[in-house]
């Protein structure tokens, strides 16, 4: 970063103008190259507009009667998100202490655990879901496992970072009383990290709920299955109902969870 600091402030020297010009042309080249790669074309978009309009008009009005059939999938989606979140918390809890620089018994272990978190985080839920569908078969359980593994890596990282941010003073004070390490964690570390842990878990639930809405597309349970089926059967009015129900569900969860998080994190 330091090498580029000269770009942010100070006088407009010749060298600085040249650097900006170079950066500008480099970005332009990359963007044009990428646009060709993906077939980005405004004329295609313009030509497609009538078809898009046709699809939208066939989605309207949404078929509200279809929402009756969505009650069970919606409940299943929430259930997948709940258990996916709970299992990822259980996965992250024991590992986060080993993956926190200030509490890990060894620096090597700290790096190993962090890389495990990164690996789990780095692979998308859908990829895990495809693997688990192959392993345990179609159905919501594969989705739950996928969310647990991916979320475990995510929460492990968040939990470990919260542990690293604690005030070391109380930890030292409790060690000085002769308290055993496990109780030092319970009385000096946990009270400092729990608000942040709960907030991360709630946020993870929001993310899991959004992810759970598409797991059904690959047969891993939830409302996504209904959405894809209605598309395949050209029942676009049913599709519209699915989209709206998903929207309502996700927005409600986001609203509730962000209110809760704000209250928990308030000092």
């Amino acid at each position: 970063m330091n090498r580029f600091r000269f770009l942010l402030g100070g006088a407009w020297t010749f060298r600085r103008r040249l650097t900006w010009l170079g950066l500008f042309f480099a970005s332009a080249v990359v963007l044009v190259w990428s646009a060709r790669g993906i077939g980005l074309s405004f004329s295609e978009l313009l030509r497609g507009l009538p078809w898009i309009w046709d699809l939208v008009s066939r989605m309207l009005p949404p078929n509200w009667a279809f929402s009756e059939r969505l009650v069970k999938p919606v409940i299943e989606t929430v259930q997948i998100a709940l258990w996916g979140t709970l299992l990822s918390v259980l996965l992250a809890l024991p590992l986060c202490f080993l993956g926190a620089r200030n509490l890990s018994p060894s620096l090597a272990l700290f790096h190993v655990i962090r890389q495990v978190f990164n690996a789990l985080r780095g692979i998308n839920e859908i990829i895990f879901a495809l693997i688990f569908v192959a392993a345990v078969g179609l159905g919501p359980f594969a989705g739950v496992l996928a969310l647990s593994i991916h979320g475990g890596g995510m929460l492990g990282k968040f939990f470990a970072e919260a542990v690293e941010e604690i005030d070391a003073g109380p930890v030292e004070a409790l060690r000085a009383t002769g308290t055993r390490p496990s109780l030092v964690v319970v009385f000096a570390v946990l009270p400092q990290v729990i608000p942040s842990w709960i907030a991360s878990t709630l946020y993870r639930f929001e993310v899991n709920l959004r992810a759970a809405t598409i797991l059904g597309m690959i047969g891993a349970g939830g409302i996504g299955f209904e959405l894809v089926s209605s598309l395949k059967l050209f029942q676009y009015q049913d599709t519209a109902t699915c989209v709206l129900v998903i929207l309502i569900m996700v927005m409600t969860a986001d609203y509730l969870s962000s209110r809760l998080r704000a209250r928990i994190l308030a000092p």
């Binding site: 109380p170 004070a173 055993r180 109780l183 000096a188 009270p191």
Partner: protein, 262 residues
């Protein structure tokens, strides 16, 4: 009682302590004076081995030096420590903070589930009464003022029923009135409960007012040892080389005024 013989501590090439001999008797408040960086903190932290000494002998309450972690915890159980920034847990109640002083002797699983033996709660409440905070027992610790939080720290140390208390600059971040209350708590703990208290201070006037005995440290060596009455200007200039003794002896407020002029 604390007995220190020939204690040295070096960090790489830097010698923090160069052979300290020191004795603190039962029921005595012994104040360590010295400039910043003289090794006062290191000395205290060697006593409960938050810092591992390089060489020398430290006897606390007749216990032999610890050979493993269990013995180290056993040693620390008898040593209370009070920190400059109190180091209490902000989100726990006052009572729970004081109870953490008893964790070393509690059944661990019950304690982890927040189930505390009645006897330990009584000891904690007794310690809170000694620092006048019994009625705040159920308040969250971060609702208290800085001085009150420091006194919770003292109650936590008292709850250990220690034979020794180490106090590392306990009043450095407190106003003069609160500082006197805290130092009075410490002196009464020494005199009434028979605890050997070793206390670092950087204000000479507090040492003169509260100490039973003063030990002056400069550059890792003991350069003065005696009663407050024996702390004359020659002694002060040995503890604080290059400092005008009159300024060192003056109250902090006057000293600050002087410093501003200089």
């Amino acid at each position: 009682m604390i007995e220190i013989r020939g204690l040295t501590k070096t960090y790489g090439d830097i010698a923090a302590l160069r052979g300290i001999d020191l004795r603190v008797s039962v029921g005595e408040l012994c104040v360590v004076l010295g400039p910043s960086g003289a090794g006062k903190s290191t000395l205290l932290r060697c006593v409960n081995r938050l810092t591992e000494p390089t060489s020398g002998e430290i006897l606390v309450a007749g216990q032999s030096p610890p050979r493993n972690r269990a013995e180290l915890r056993e040693l620390r159980r008898h040593i209370g420590m009070i920190f400059q920034d109190h180091n209490i847990v902000p989100r726990l109640s006052v009572l729970k903070n004081v109870l953490t002083g008893r964790l070393a002797t509690m059944p661990p699983i019950a304690a982890a589930l927040q189930v505390f033996p009645r006897a330990d709660i009584d000891i904690a409440l007794f310690a809170l009464r000694r620092v006048d905070l019994a009625e705040r027992a159920n308040d969250r610790a971060d609702r208290l003022s800085g001085g009150q939080q420091q006194r919770v720290g003292i109650a936590r140390a008292l709850a250990q029923r220690p034979q020794v208390i180490l106090a590392d600059e306990p009043v450095a971040s407190l106003d003069p009135k609160t500082a006197r209350v805290v130092l009075d708590d410490l002196r009464r703990a020494a005199h009434e409960l028979g605890i050997a208290v070793l206390c670092n201070l950087h204000q000479v006037e507090y040492a003169l007012e509260f100490a039973d005995r003063i030990v002056g440290i400069c550059d890792g060596r003991v350069v003065f040892e005696g009663t407050p009455a024996q702390l004359d200007e020659a002694a002060l200039s040995r503890i604080y080389p290059g400092l005008d003794a009159e300024i060192a002896r003056a109250p902090a407020s006057a000293r600050r005024a002087q410093e501003r002029v200089i």
